[in-house]
Symmetry: D2
Subunit: 504 residues, 4 copies
């Protein structure tokens, strides 16, 4: 491995990353025979390192080994699998600062968010360790004498995980921690634009497997693009494909997987609203909206994209909000104090510009922002837009720090607007009125998977189930009973006595 | 309503059925403006009665009213919804004999099975009453001070239920009992060939709704064919479609429903095997195979279609099995002592004949049966076929009393054959060896949703979750946590204190 | 059976009650060889009927038969036991009006409460039917290869139930419905002053057992006093004794049962407070206090005995409260419009008088009531007392419609007063402030088992677990996982392979 | 701190132990003003070190501080409490070898058992971390419109833990890990004869609390005897006392705690049987009996004390069993290869001798062993006794490696003998017959809390609930829902709307 020319990349060595990297962890070794790509820093679009992606042959080699490893891994007792995941958590803990820095460097999110993302994987590991002794089936009373009925959960075998650039390691963590303790091997394809995170994460997992004399192919990883994704979707050896990405691509993946009688766990687009009622704590609400709309440069699935304000306090909310937006510090995500880093790619920046154009043509009024920052990087100004809830563009997920603001008169109207988009991930209300809270969380309230009160749309905890309804795909990850999706349920009944009592 | 000409149909009056019937229960009234069809007795192919099916206009009228009713029904407390379902159970109890007789008359299954099917709906009602106080969400510890995290379950609104002819009321019962206590309105399309069961069941439900001054449109039913099914699949007012039928049609329904971001609960084809190990209780096994393969004329989704016998006891099993097959009493399902009624339609009988032809051309050897019974009805002889597990036809679900028999040498080989078909509903092993039982139910055993031991492939209990993997569609109905599929999960988090403590 | 001399008692014949009654249901027959007692109407202290109580010999005969019946009942599959309980519910439904009338007649509560109490038993039956398919154990992942770990629940055998006069059939219902579906026989001793309710309830249960050809001794009942209670407490054949009554007697029962290594389920005294915060809906609160303090003449375990009012709204609450107290209609509980019936016994009325005397001597100021009603019955005036929270008498449970009112300054002070008594059953706050609600239900809020918000201290639902902490005894009845107390948990582990793999 | 005179004790410095030690961790500091005692090595009865025990004043100081700390600790979010417990696990991991050595040195169990005991605490920590996000309450459907019903779990405040010498740290671990994540402070009194383990364990916990700037008094520990235990039992600040010890003392503790309305969690005596059926794998069974009866010198609560052998294989079992007993290596528990260490105290050795005397006088026949080993230590020979199941001594728990052997004829007789003792902790059957297994785990099988199949009476896993019925006290520790005992359940109901809709 040669050296990095830039000193700022030298910390990557700690993670096993060099200027040139093989992008596949296949059958316990690093190799790759596909195209060579460069990964760039979104803050300046300069190359960080090169990565060799997976070829079709790498894929097949990896999957064959993985299928063999699955026969071993399903037989390891779940609490022992938990111990492996615990060690993965500890290995991450030992690399928290460097790994968090890499996430920020390659993805573009600010450093506290980069470190926070790695910490979330660590937390998932700890959670999964406990879960490894609680993957409980049921003993159910049988209606027949001398019969015993049970519901049991067995591993699926292999879980395919396709993740997106915005959480390049946390989403893998949600899936892999659970999948592994459940007894499944994991096949991972990270985003094509965050290969270093994919490699660094895989190296950490691999080191633990090796230390425990387990086949590396229990965790198989590929850097690559749509072709690898397609191969996973079509592969009958993979009973479950967990996909994170847009509603459009997710739907296509689901159809491919369904055709071969496989299952999908989908985490697709969000279009999340915050409702501010007239009795809200405005200071709390404004600060929450800022973090929810501008954090990660508007590239979280839970980013607040729509702000619904009661008409009676509209000005009281908008004025301080526009004010704080103007003070947001834009800059290098690795620099202390930066609140808003760059968009992830040049294409994202272009999409932002196209979006602003469409917003204007659909009657949107720019209250602040609305333009890109001229620089080497992919920076844009945080943007607030006043627009009708009926505008077409409001139904879409523009993956950038653009917030649509709209007024409402009644609680019922606000809920109706909240529910009027195809997506159903997250939603939030700010109010002091218990009656409104009760309606909001009830059958005629928000139709989303996440339904918050006096906190923003983001900020899910791993103990709960993360995911959304409608166009968001219906999957649930992390806590609660999400693990059941990673296992095969069998209901079984047995007769415990024999022929002498059986009346023909 | 005019009178039946045949005295044997007069009992139908007790169920509100006459010679001519309107086939839609729409907005609380009976109407229908679609095509008029005749329903026939499979035992003689003579007409029982006429039914007017749903037109597109009937459908729209019914769905509009149903969508309105949903706003009311979601607000009824769950235990009160349970009370309605309890009354439905009691109304069925009062009509058990007549209704069971209708099921046998129109579907063709023998009378104890007809009555048993209605009893299963009654049991589901009782079970759902208890469930109505247990649709529990969770209070989950939050990692943040002064925050509260909950997981709650809200009704979806409307559940579409599309059922098949073989269980013309039980499958509706599984779905509707749970859907109703969960707070959903139900839209039902029964099989086109069992409209009288659809009407009779609906009349019973309607009588309870009316007695309680609830909108009839809480339960909306349509007699009709593929067009109504298609309308349900496409209807964005129906967040969940529960479909029972073939893998092929089910997959198509799923794709239509997915396109509009709806969800499906699929109960599709089965191809269920019984394995008889060399240490099995042969007498118990033979009797179990007979019931599992010949019951309901092989038209259950859990029918045993494949018999895997250890080579060392092959003759010991086959001889008595062929023997009892030859003694099976074929005849009018309403007649006492009949064990095997007719296939449901003339087309089913033709498919049986085509199937036998294909079996022979693929090397199958007919050990007994293999021909139709010449008569007015759709009777066929119960059939045993010796065939290779690799023959193409063995991978398909031939909906008739045809049993494929094959030998195996080892437990592992038997499991491999069991798992080698695209379907994954039910499976069973007969053995006295605890080690084999342990493997059978474990990660490297049967890959089905139902994994029995010393009982046949059929005979699921409502306390467990019913359904299967792979081509069977992955849905689960009846007990366990199946109810969760009929509800929308929301994870919510709230902040309980206000601005004074919030540090900006 | 001779006839009742009073026409108003003739309805009792419908329940199988006559002027003279045998008080034991033993080995499936009615008999009794103990003392003869009279049961009286608390509204006029006139005799309703005579009852022969249990002798020691009756007890032994009953228990022997019950122990035999237990061997049969544990083997009946739980869902079949559920079906028996369902039929008990239906039999009660058929007798709802008459049985409710008897409860009011003999106990003294107003008719809607009498009928409501029977309805609660019916609801419990329905709930228990559902539960009979959900007495689920767990399959737990083992840390050892080829091992299987399960947690299972088996019946205890026999459950002893000792109930109090204030809910003469509901508490039996809570216990017996769950105990029966869990597979236990029930031995019941009702209150000595409500023997007719005991007999009527038992006759209904017995009729169902007989109809199903089950041994009557599955349900064994004794009319009798402390000697029968003591016999139950000492009887090693009874692994669980469920006792409802005072903290003092409950503690003694527990010590007796513990000595013989049995378990107790205790529902003891309550001393329940309602807190009214300054932001409460006063109208709602006042009405709630009235019902909670005066209902059942203050003889519910959940009766509100202490009212804590924020000093700033003290007058606003007290004025209308005293006002409505003065309008409370006192009279025959069977008469329409009566709100307050008599105390249950002449002794209760004397205890009320003694209590008032003590209240005054401890500085209590009578705001309204404070005296008995001069009549043949046991009527007293509903009473409000202004008193210090530190007065000794405030720590005790005076079983009468006496409400202690006290002021507080802060939320924290109110909680401290709420928690300052030895009992810990129910508690309630009225407020519109989400922050207070959050604290109230949290670790530093109410220390009771029931912690209500904007509803009174009474009004528990059967879906939840009913019971309290500290002096209330810690037991939980009705819903949630209360059923676990009626079963024996076993954790079992098995090794599924044999010697050839076992390394010595 | 002066130095140890013996080199073999020098490793204790690593654990913070010296020749003289203060025995109380009180308000975050080490102190002690009670009597000075010596702790000895059971292998030679030589003094290891001196410990100052707690005085009444130390106790009061510790409890006051603990009660203050409880106010803080309950407010720490559960997952953060989990993080503290995780760090405790890691701190133990770093001291595994030394701490395991100390356990063996002071308690007398062989080194692999000493290390294994510490490992169990580590496993409990990992398990508890996961649990800290799963202390879930329930959202239960309310039967009333606009009402919400929840079941929540709050900390109790302080949990008192009184442990025994045989597992001087594991039992603390079971209790403290769960108690701490549940939000309780812990007050621990270890056994008077294992004070160094108490101190070493507490130092590890304390170091973590200090590192996290938490009050040390969250974990308060006292070395001391019955007086400290009595103080805990009487202390109204301690709502739950978890006691491990004999049935006799446990019962007394329970009565004291009940008097003040507190709760107990009891783990008392066991008297565990292994049944060997005629179809058992005898080699597997014999080896299992050896470990279960001789391990920890027969001083486990799950030690096999009774061996029930089917008469037809009696000789086949006894012969190899007596044989392996004679080969058991007795000696210094720290020496490699030792299988049987000393009894814990000289008194234990005397009790063994008394026991053997009683055995003989009650007709017991010594098949092997039956005498002490003449030495400085407390060694005895592992003993097998042939005796009637009806002998009085067989009903008692003789805490030594003495195994009672008896014959039986039928499965039913074996179960009857198994259940004929006052204790109900563990039990085990060896058989290949599925029917017997089914009966063994069913309502008419073993009446114990642990019901094993083809594994010995010991060997519980932390994922399950550990504990027993009858004289064993009924408590459950470690996994499953044991955590609920460490929390206060509150059922709460709220009304979510206000006066305008409320009909007076």
């Amino acid at each position: 491995m040669t050296s990095f020319t830039k000193k700022e990349y030298e910390f990557l060595k700690e993670l096993g990353i060099g200027p040139q990297n093989l992008g596949c962890y296949v059958n316990g070794t690093w190799k790759a025979t596909g195209p060579v790509i460069s990964t760039v820093n979104p803050a300046n679009n300069q190359i960080i390192a090169e990565v060799v992606e997976a070829s079709a042959q790498d894929y097949e080699e990896g999957m064959s080994a993985c299928a063999e490893a699955a026969k071993i891994w399903v037989q390891v007792p779940a609490p022992k699998r938990g111990e492996i995941v615990r060690q993965i958590g500890d290995a991450l803990r030992a690399n928290l600062q460097e790994f968090g820095r890499l996430v920020s460097l390659e993805m573009g999110k600010i450093l506290p968010e980069g470190i926070g993302e790695v910490q979330e994987v660590i937390d998932m590991c700890d959670f999964a360790v406990g879960l490894s002794r609680q993957l409980n089936g049921s003993v159910i009373p049988s209606e027949r004498p001398n019969h015993m009925m049970l519901e049991m959960w067995n591993p699926l075998g292999i879980v395919g995980v396709i993740t997106a650039f915005n959480f390049p390691c946390a989403v893998l963590g949600w899936n892999a921690c659970i999948a592994l303790v459940c007894g499944n091997c994991v096949v991972w394809k990270g985003a094509p634009t965050t290969p270093l995170v994919t490699i660094a994460m895989t190296k950490i997992v691999a080191s633990v497997l090796e230390k425990n004399n387990l086949p590396g192919s229990i965790f198989t990883a590929f850097c690559g693009g749509a072709d690898v994704g397609q191969a996973i979707a079509k592969d009958t050896r993979i009973p479950l494909v967990s996909f994170t990405g847009s509603s459009k691509v997710g739907l296509a993946v689901q159809q491919t997987v369904s055709q071969r009688f496989g299952k999908c766990l989908l985490e697709l687009s969000g279009n999340n609203a915050i409702i501010i009622m007239d009795d809200a704590d405005i200071k709390l609400a404004v600060r929450s909206v800022l973090f929810a709309a501008v954090g990660t440069a508007g590239q979280r699935c839970t980013t607040c994209r729509r702000l619904l304000v009661h008409e009676s306090i509209y000005e009281k909310v908008l004025e301080p909000l526009v004010d704080v937006y103007k003070q947001v510090k834009i800059g290098d995500p690795l620099e202390k104090g930066t609140l808003l880093g760059p968009l992830h790619t040049r294409t994202s920046r272009e999409n932002f510009e196209k979006g602003i154009h469409n917003i204007k043509s659909q009657g949107g009024k720019i209250l602040t922002g609305g333009s890109v920052v001229e620089s080497e990087g992919n920076f844009v100004h945080p943007t607030i837009v006043e627009i009708s809830s009926k505008a077409e563009i409001v139904k879409e997920e523009l993956f950038a720090p653009v917030l649509y603001v709209m007024k409402f008169k009644t609680f019922e109207e606000a809920v109706e607007i909240n529910n009027s988009v195809p997506q159903g991930l997250s939603s939030s209300i700010f109010t002091r009125n218990p009656e409104n809270i009760f309606k909001w969380i009830g059958p005629q309230g928000s139709d989303c998977g996440i339904v918050n009160v006096n906190i923003p749309t983001n900020g899910a905890e791993i103990g709960g189930a993360f995911g959304g309804e409608k166009g968001t795909g219906g999957g649930r990850e992390a806590g609660s009973d999400s693990w059941k999706q990673y296992m095969r349920r069998s209901t079984w009944c047995r007769y415990a006595r024999f022929a002498r009592e059986f009346i023909l």
